[in-house]
């Protein structure tokens, strides 16, 4: 679905991504992991067209990303605990998003299941961190996109909301959607992710099924496996 080939990105003299090649496959959940400053957010921003690569190719269904960004109609994005206009009500925000994409079908069931209808009239600025994250996640799922990109989607969520999100993700995977999740909570990620892409210092150190990573590092869990990749040692 989405392929990056030799993507490089630098901000001034600071190299952020160096020759990253990665394929995101439909019907699979890819966990994007790596230490702070490893380039995860930049990678997401490149896919969304928020930033432009210095070199490399980015393809959507084998076709280079169009400059007009129309491919984004097929992507849903959830930023991490975003600061959205404080005085807009939740319902007004969704009404605006709907109006911006006339004709696109809205996943009403998702809005119900995330419990957002209860906060429809609440100003965004009065929502707690957890509710803001729910709101961000709902923005990603709103139009049932082919590709879901979520940045720390469980941050601040209570166990019930987290469980609902995981169910929604499993359903999206079963529907054949392509899902990329950036997360530091590896224990949680291995509950639902199929693949892992590990970035360190701007380079992709591993990309593939979690089982392969566990086998390669001789570990049983994702967290020690990533720690092993980071330290360059095998952990048993």
């Amino acid at each position: 679905m989405i392929s990056l080939e030799g993507v490089r990105k630098a901000y001034g003299s600071r190299r952020v991504l160096e020759g990253v090649s990665l394929s995101l496959t439909p019907g699979r959940i890819t966990g994007l992991v790596g230490p702070n400053g490893s380039g995860k957010t930049t990678l997401i921003k490149l896919i969304l067209g928020l930033a432009r690569p210095d070199a490399g190719r980015m393809l959507f269904d084998g076709v280079p990303f169009d400059a007009d960004g129309l491919y984004r109609a097929r992507i849903g994005y959830a930023p991490q605990s975003p600061r959205l206009p404080d005085h807009l009500a939740v319902g007004e925000l969704f009404a605006m998003l709907r109006a911006l994409r006339p004709g696109a079908a809205v996943d009403e069931a998702m809005l119900e299941s995330f419990g957002l209808r209860a906060e429809w009239g609440t100003a965004v600025g009065k929502l707690s961190g957890g509710w803001r994250q729910k709101l961000a996640n709902a923005c990603a799922f709103l139009f049932s996109p082919d590709v879901l990109i979520l940045d720390e989607p469980t941050a601040g969520l209570d166990p019930v909301a987290s469980g609902l999100l995981k169910s929604a993700l499993r359903k999206a995977r079963a529907d054949g959607r392509t899902i990329l999740i950036s997360s530091h909570i590896l224990v949680e990620l291995e509950e639902f992710a199929d693949d892992v892409a590990f970035l360190n210092d701007g380079a992709l150190r591993f990309a593939g099924p979690i089982e392969s990573l566990l086998k390669e590092t001789g570990t049983r869990r994702l967290e020690p496996a990533v720690a092993a990749l980071l330290s360059g040692l095998k952990v048993v």
Binding site: L50, R52, Y71, R83, L84, P85
Partner: protein, 263 residues
């Protein structure tokens, strides 16, 4: 409805409920009312209001605008992750910030002026030009705030630049003009001085309002020079054209920055 109007509507709705914006409008209303109550004749009220406007409008537009653009960064990213053109998102965001600020100023100053206008002896033209130049200054400095905020990622540094721009155009400018006139008074400095005046929207707004009043003594060196060179008929036309250009040009600089930058 177009992308611009949808984003603009969201911005306007958001800001109209902001306490800061309400305080800004109410503050101008209170100042205008107080000047009418205690400020003497209509002309004196306009002059006092002009001084308050020339200081406050650029300051608020720069500081509020810079802070607002930084605070809206994630909202901007959410919009840009939709299948929308950057151009449309930019104009929606800019107008969504600039129009409520302009509206707050116009209501704060305009309503008391309308209420007291009939009783005042100030020329209607001066009152109209005061409101119009304040609105144009708001649009100008909101766009300059956008240029600053888009160019500087660090919020504190951006705010420092916004304050520096305000200081340079309101306080330092007059001092520099005075110093240049004192130092090079014997030289033919008329043209550079006229250019300097066209390069400062605050000075243009001052000139525009003062020429409509019987207050030529307050014009200052550049204003007097401007009046002398262009006359009382052509001068205001040039000044208002330059002010209109000032309201448009920074918008295009900000737009260029918005289209090119990485978020």
């Amino acid at each position: 409805m177009s992308t611009v109007s949808l984003v603009l509507r969201a911005g306007v709705r958001d800001l109209l409920r902001s306490r800061w914006l309400l305080a800004y409008g109410a503050g101008f209303w209170a100042v205008t009312e107080a000047l009418f109550l205690f400020g003497g004749s209509g002309q004196q009220v306009v002059l006092s209001l002009l001084n308050a406007m020339l200081l406050l409008v650029p300051l608020v537009a720069l500081v509020f605008g810079t802070a607002h653009v930084h605070a809206s960064r994630e909202f901007t990213e959410l919009l840009l992750s939709q299948p929308l053109s950057r151009r449309s998102v930019f104009f929606g965001l800019y107008l969504g910030m600039a129009l409520p600020l302009t509206g707050a100023f116009l209501v704060g100053v305009g309503v008391p002026l309308l209420l007291h206008g009939a009783a005042t002896d100030a020329p209607r033209l001066a009152l109209g030009l005061l409101a119009a130049s304040g609105a144009l200054l708001t649009l100008t400095f909101a766009a300059i705030a956008m240029v600053i905020a888009l160019g500087v990622d660090d919020r504190l540094r951006a705010m420092a630049r916004a304050l520096a721009a305000w200081f340079a155009l309101t306080v330092a400018y007059d001092g520099i003009v005075l110093a240049v006139v004192s130092a090079f008074g014997d030289w033919p400095i008329e043209r550079p001085m006229l250019a300097a005046m066209l390069g400062n929207p605050i000075d243009l707004a001052r000139l525009l309002v003062l020429t409509s009043l019987d207050a030529t003594a307050l014009l200052g060196y550049t204003g007097a020079l401007f009046r002398q060179v262009f006359g009382t008929a052509l001068g205001p036309v040039i000044a208002i054209t330059a002010l209109l250009l000032w309201a448009v040009l920074p918008v295009f600089v900000a737009r260029r920055s918005f289209l090119r930058r990485d978020f």
